[in-house]
Each structure stands twice: as structure tokens, then as C-alpha cells.
């Protein structure tokens, strides 16, 4: 079997991933609609509880279904996935129900987030304009990955298409809000990064000690509300649950 030759020209493509599972990719480039399709398609297949699927995930533009391909032949599963793809235009599909909007108190700039000025310069914005852009755009968790619980959030206005740093910053702290290529990442623990550190929160997307270790799901939304240095310090002193004073509400 030429497992990795898509059977139809164009997109979506269905491919095997080693012997680890099957990947359905909606676009060769990141787009809002391809990301939405990946989240919606994964949710729709998950709802059907196929016995062969051990777990599933959505990446930026794909839905991944973990299946032991040494035990299960891929052809019938690829066929079922293709049938599912044919039931609707997934690029127009709505995001699944049950999503959450998080409002996260965020200190922009200062020495707690020292690369705001540089990032604003690159985006051609004053610092105040940058804070307005970064704090008023409703960001969607495009995918959760790389590190546990870590969201990739999109998408900022066009002028935030700024590149990664050429020199990696050796360490930004847990709760750091960093940006590149019109996206945010929000780190669950101290980490090196090539993205610019523009905001600081007390929000940890992975709390291994908590009853709910992972609070974010792909498709959830986040707004980063500006707070002062004093306000963040107060939150840090009083809030011990790792959520940094963030408020959640269900997205209707």
C-alpha cells in the first residue's frame, strides 16, 4: 500500500503516521478555516467513539487519530474518515459546543515582560497601541501542544506578523505571554523561547497537582486584560490555584 499517497488530488489529505495513527490535514498552510475544520472534524469523530481510536488530537491544520496500525489495517479506517469528510464542507463547520472563554489579567511590558517595546517596534505600533492590539483581540487556542497544556493562540492583526528571535531567550518564567507570527504562546513553566516576551500572567495551563490539571482545550478563547504591576503582584500574592485570577465563562 502506498499509504502516504493521497487518493484524491488536493485537500483534505489523509495519511498514515508511522504505525501510530492516521492524520487528516485540511490545508498546506495555516488558516482560520483549516484550524476550525481540524478542531470540528476531530470532535465529530471523537463523538462517534470508534473502537480502533485510542485517543485523538487536533494540531494547527490537522486532526490526528491514534490507532495501532500493527493491529488495525488502515484502509477501512481511511475509508470511514473519507466518508466523514464527505458529509459536509468542514472548512465551513462551526467550532464544537462546550468551549470556554478565559479572561486573564496580564501585565504588558515593564521589566516583567521586557520585549514588548521591541515587539511593538517591529509591528510598527507605539507601546500603547500594541497593548490595545494585544489585549483586545479575542484569541483562539489553535492547538494545545509542544509542552503540556500549552496553547498556541491566534490570530493577531496582520502587522503582528513578526519573526521569531534569531537568538533564543534562555528563560522566560511560567505564565509568560510571548508572541511571533501573529500568535501567542502562554507557557506552563519556565522555558527557553524564540518568541518575544510581551506580557506576564499568573495563569498556568498545566497544573499537575490540581483536580483539573489541564484547563484549556483547542478551540477555547482567551482575552488578556491589562493590569498594572501592582495589580499583578496582588494577584500573585493572593491567588494560589495557578490560574492567576483568570475568569472563565462558557461560550454560548
Amino acid at each position: 500500500m502506498t499509504a502516504n499517497t493521497p487518493s484524491h488530488d488536493g485537500w483534505p489529505q489523509i495519511k498514515t503516521v508511522g504505525l501510530a495513527g492516521i492524520l487528516v490535514t485540511f490545508s498546506p498552510v495555516l488558516s482560520e478555516s483549516a484550524n476550525r475544520a481540524a478542531i470540528a472534524f476531530r470532535a465529530a469523530v471523537k463523538d462517534q467513539d470508534w473502537t480502533e481510536i485510542e485517543e485523538s488530537n487536533s494540531t494547527l491544520v490537522s486532526a490526528f487519530f491514534r490507532i495501532d496500525l500493527a493491529t488495525h489495517r488502515p484502509e477501512p479506517l481511511v475509508e470511514r474518515l473519507r466518508d466523514m469528510l464527505g458529509t459536509q464542507n468542514w472548512l465551513d463547520a462551526p467550532l464544537p459546543d462546550g468551549r470556554t472563554l478565559w479572561r486573564v489579567p496580564t501585565l504588558f511590558g515593564t521589566d516583567r515582560a521586557p520585549q514588548l517595546q521591541e515587539a511593538a517596534d517591529m509591528a510598527g505600533r507605539s507601546v500603547n497601541e500594541a497593548i490595545t492590539d494585544l489585549s483586545t483581540t479575542t484569541m483562539r487556542a489553535l492547538t494545545i501542544g509542544f509542552a503540556p497544556g500549552q496553547p498556541y493562540l491566534g490570530t493577531l492583526p496582520d502587522h503582528w506578523e513578526i519573526p521569531r528571535l534569531s537568538q533564543i531567550t534562555p528563560r522566560v518564567p511560567a505564565g509568560a505571554l510571548v508572541t511571533a507570527v501573529r500568535q501567542f504562546c502562554l507557557f506552563p513553566y519556565d522555558t527557553p523561547t524564540g518568541w518575544r516576551h510581551v506580557g506576564q500572567t499568573g495563569f498556568l495551563s498545566f497544573r499537575p497537582w490540581a483536580d483539573e490539571p489541564f484547563v484549556l482545550r483547542a478551540g477555547d478563547e482567551m482575552i488578556f486584560d491589562p493590569v498594572s504591576e501592582t495589580e499583578l503582584a496582588k494577584i500573585e500574592a493572593s491567588v494560589k490555584d495557578g490560574l492567576g485570577g483568570a475568569q472563565r465563562e462558557a461560550i454560548p
Partner: protein, 338 residues
Amino acid sequence: MSALIVRSIGPACAIQDLGRPGFLANGLTRGGASDPTALYEGAALLRHAPEMAALEMAGMGGTFEATADMRIALTGAEMTATIDGDPPHSNASHLLPKGAILAIGAARRGTFGYLHVGGGFDTPRYLGTRGSHLSAGLGQLIAVGDTLNALPDSGTETGLHLIPEPRLDGGTIRVVPSVQTDKFSDETRARFEATKFRRDPRGNRQGMRMDFDGDGFHASGQLNIVSEIVVLGDIQITGDGTPFVLMHECQTTGGYPRIGTVLPADLSKVSQAPIGGTLQFEFLTFDQAAAIQARANTSLANMRRVVKPLVRDPATMQDLLSYQLISGAISATTKDEG
């Protein structure tokens, strides 16, 4: 309760098991032992379940004191070892009497050695299981003074051994085509297969760097690949053309292209390859890979059948009486299960 007290310890020893599946959508890879075959072997020798937690020791072991009579087994890398001064057989089960000192030194062959206790270790669970996932902050390295409790041991048999599947010296690593394999030209893939790689010292439980002579390996349009799912054993090619085999604590997504995925059955060979050891990659077709892996899975499931009583030459046994007292399972009438 029986336990091992840690009197000295190497720099990279942690409790491992078969990992923590089910958190991929949360950005957490499965983790688990670098050489899962060694867990199946230890479980077969002690007649307990392969899900039991064992101590993984990278390169160097430690010194342990038993607080009660305990059954133990050593699998994986061959490490120098003594029980109160006498070397035990590798890949065998033994009684570690109360107060005895088990000293495990450096790896002579392979990289990851495993110390198993009857019933498995009873260390704290993180997100449901005991395996450490240090890159995710789950569990920690074992330190001097730690007490490693064991679960109740329902077995009594010792003196069993098995001949492990050879995997400690590098060699040929079979590769399954994956999502981005076709982004590498036929010529690049052929050169990749013909190259003798060396395991670089820059390797850990997240990834193993492959050292080599000659030009790097590049995909077409390498810089334009959207970040995509990473699976265990993926061979990621970084910007300078160097392959890294992604190991048990790898990330869940990545932007570098993957030339293929190591056949799961051969991944322990990558883990265990000594620093500087030679590794050569060979592509299988998908169908070949699925068939070989299915057989390997069956072998793992049937590991108990290859366990046999140790046959000892009395002339080489320093203290026949103590061996017989310790190893009740050595019996001329024991039937081979296999």
C-alpha cells in the same frame, strides 16, 4: 512494607513504567521507559504485570539496601552489579535478603538498565501512573536517602532467567514511512539509508542526536512546513540537516520535517545504543512494518514463555548452600513453560 533505601545513586535514575497514554490533546506525550522491552522482561522474570513500575538507570546505577527480603531482577543495559559483593546474573530474578546491599555500577553494554522489585515500586502516581516525565515536570530524579517502597509481592519464585532480544549495540534500525517522508527526494533517502550514523553524546529522553560525516539531509520546502503532530520515534531533521530520533519525552508537535518513524520494535535499540555506537537506518514499506511490528507485539505479550530456571554449574558456585536457600525455584523437576 518492603523498600529499597537509596545509599548512592547515578545522575539520571527515575521510576518508569509503560507511560501515560491519553493526554495527547493536552500536549503531553506518553513518556514511559526508554526500553519498554526491558519492562516486559523484568515482569516476566518476577511473574508480575508489565505495567509495574521499575527503576530506570541511565548509564550508572546506585547502591540500595533492602529493608526486608525482596525479589529483584535486572534487565536492559548490562551494568556491573553485586549483591553483598557477589555478582548476580543479568536478566535473572534474585532474592535480595533483608539488609543486603545491591550495588549497581556503570553500564558495560547499552545505556538504560532497569531494576525491578517483586510487585513493582509503589511510588506516587502523577496523572494516574508512576512513570516519570521529567520534561513535563512529573516525578523526579531519585536522590540519595530516598526510600523506594515496593507494592506487596504475591510471588516467591527466584532464579529465573531469559535471553534478551539483542538490542544493546546499535545496528540496523528499521524505519516506517510517515507524513513527510515524501518531502525528501529519493536521492536523499538513499543517502540517509547508506549513512553510518553515530549516537551523539547529546541525547536524552527527549531526543537522540545522530552524528555523521558528510552533507546534511534536507527536505524540499523545509522551512515552510506547518507545525504538525509528532509521534514517538519520529526522525526529525533540524535546520542544519541533522537527524534526531524523538524519544519518550518528546514534544507533541514540531515544525521540523520528519524523514520517517523508527519501527516501534527497534526503538529500544536506539535508546540502548552506546555513545558513539553505529546506527544505520533502513526503510520498510508500510505493510512490511505492520507485519514485523505485529510479530514483535506478540513476542512481548508472550515474554513469560521464554523465561527458564537458571541452570548453574555447581563447580562455579561459590556457596552452594546459600544459593539453594535463596533460590527455591531451582529444581530438577521444574518444567519449562515454553
